[in-house]
């Protein structure tokens, strides 16, 4: 496969393995630009990209903006605070207004699952889902996959454990769809109160005991405990969560000797992951951040890179 034919990137559930490989290969080739003294290429000059975030974000938004700027696109940032959204403007009208201003691609984060899908049907511009409710976060899934591929060289047969608040995690969903599609065995582990209903219908193995789940895995992806959601009695206390589901050095010994530790960030050190693991030899958390820029550059290139054949020499 040499080109992406879809208009939007909404999730990994409906993405083919060929499309995923194309994105990952393109991202790998784009990483070289990040190491140059002049981190700028002219490919998207004249293209207009709008990041439209209805929820807080630091790394995802910054990463998209950097990716766009490296490729010479113009970026506009809209956040709910200080925009007409606070005057009661609907999501649809916001999209149509910005499209009328000439936006070629929207990067959307929204608290409601399916919001980017609605946007994709509403406007002709391209849409990239930067996280929608508890549904998917495809670019995070792709950057996790790129980090795994770079370190392990394959997906097939790998055992990948995703541990934490599975129920509320869009990262977990993008990981499980992407990785299972590529032939990895995906294990999900968390307190039973934080496992979604009908989880057994997903292509995963489910655990409620981290010591069992971590046994012999190649990759551990540690999810952030969303403290903002934790006032609803999902577990008795943060201390208890840390003792039962926190990834520490002792537990990590049960995984493979070349295990990778991933975390989508931001980390709650001492809760879901201990500092010695977060800063240890097995952690590739900063590599994930770098790969995030590369994956987003790749997606912008593949979506805005045009269509049809042209003469060249």
């Amino acid at each position: 496969m040499t080109k992406l034919t879809r208009k939007d990137i909404l999730g990994l559930q409906d993405m083919s393995t060929d499309e995923i490989y194309l994105i990952l290969e393109t991202a790998q080739s784009h990483k070289e630009i990040l190491g140059r003294p002049v981190k700028k290429v002219p490919i998207l000059r004249g293209k207009s990209i709008c990041t439209l975030f209805y929820e807080n974000s630091t790394r995802t938004r910054t990463s998209f903006e950097l990716a766009a700027k490296i490729m010479s696109a113009d970026t506009t940032s809209i956040s709910v605070a200080g925009s007409s959204i606070n005057k009661g403007e609907s999501f649809k009208d916001t999209l149509l207004t910005l499209e009328a201003m000439g936006v070629d691609l929207f990067v959307i984060r929204h608290g409601a699952g399916g919001a980017p899908h609605f946007a994709a049907r509403t406007v002709k511009s391209h849409i990239i889902n930067a996280g929608d409710g508890m549904h998917e976060h495809p670019t995070q899934g792709l950057l996790d996959m790129l980090t795994i591929l770079e370190n392990k060289g394959k997906f097939d047969g790998l055992k990948v454990l995703v541990v934490g608040d599975i129920m509320h995690s869009r990262v977990a969903r993008s990981n499980l769809w992407g990785l299972s599609k590529m032939g990895a065995e995906v294990r999900l582990c968390g307190p039973s109160t934080l496992l979604p209903a009908e989880i057994e219908q997903l292509p995963v193995k489910v655990y409620t005991d981290l010591d069992d789940a971590i046994d012999g895995v190649d990759v551990v992806n540690v999810l952030r405990i969303q403290l903002e959601r934790m006032n609803r009695g999902f577990f008795p206390s943060v201390i208890e969560y840390a003792s039962m589901f926190g990834v520490n050095k002792t537990r990590l010994m049960k995984a493979k000797s070349d295990v990778l530790v991933l975390h989508p960030g931001p980390m709650n050190r001492g809760i879901e992951i201990t500092p010695d693991v977060a800063d240890g030899d097995f952690a590739v958390i900063t590599d994930q951040v770098t790969n995030g820029v590369a994956v987003r550059m790749a997606l912008l290139y593949l979506l805005l890179g045009g269509g049809g054949n042209v003469v060249s020499d």
Binding site: M1, T2, K3, L4, L22, E25, T26, Q28, S29, H30, K31, E32, I33, R36, P37, V38, K40, V41, P42, I43, L44, M71, Y301, L302, L303, L304, G305, G306, G307, G308, N309, V310, V311, S312, D313
Partner: protein, 190 residues
């Protein structure tokens, strides 16, 4: 696939003519290597950059000839110009390989190598890409085939063969390293 290369070649409907064989290519490259040495008064400060993908085998051949003639190991890099093209809006996005330039181009004499010079747009893109990597003292262009139809004021410093063509014709360079033989073919197109 570029227009310099063949699009959808089918032996039943397309007539290919060989315009250079392996010996002719070898002689042309040997001559270019000698010209490079003569013009640059040796090979001491040279680096060679091949434009991906088919300029890369030619770049490596020239480096090996320079080494044979002058005894100097000339560094070789490969350059992807996809992100510097001026036609992305009308061109299919495609998988691209990373550029590999394992040396600093600043103050070097860069020999930019491509297999076919056609419109000149790839060369323009390559010049921009090299300028982003540093400030060479000089950039010289070496091509195996100059087929005419330039759209930009670009002229090769070293040419293996001038090959006048019609716009609808395709010129295709085969390298042993990638396609099993050395040859330059021309096809009539539709």
């Amino acid at each position: 696939m570029s227009r310099a290369g063949r699009l959808f070649w089918c032996p039943e409907v397309d007539t290919m003519t060989k315009v250079m064989d392996a010996d002719e290519i070898r002689r042309a490259l040997t001559r270019i290597a000698h010209e490079i040495i003569e013009r640059n008064k040796g090979a001491q400060n040279l680096v060679i950059i091949g434009v991906q993908s088919r300029g890369v085998p030619m770049a490596k051949r020239l480096a090996s000839l320079l080494e044979k003639i002058e005894g100097v190991d000339v560094p070789v890099g490969s350059l992807n110009v996809a992100l510097y093209r001026d036609d992305y809006a009308t061109r299919s996005a495609r998988t691209i390989s990373a550029s590999e330039i394992p040396f600093d181009v600043t103050d070097k004499s860069v020999i930019l190598v491509d297999e076919v010079l056609f419109t000149g747009r790839t060369t323009r893109a390559a010049l921009d890409a090299i300028m982003d990597l540093g400030r060479p003292s000089v950039i010289q262009l070496a091509v195996l085939i100059d087929r005419g139809h330039k759209e930009l004021p670009v002229k090769a410093d070293y040419v293996g063969k001038n090959l006048p063509t019609a716009l609808k014709e395709s010129v295709d360079v085969y390298w042993v390293e990638t396609r099993g033989e050395d040859a330059v073919m021309i096809s009539k197109g539709d």
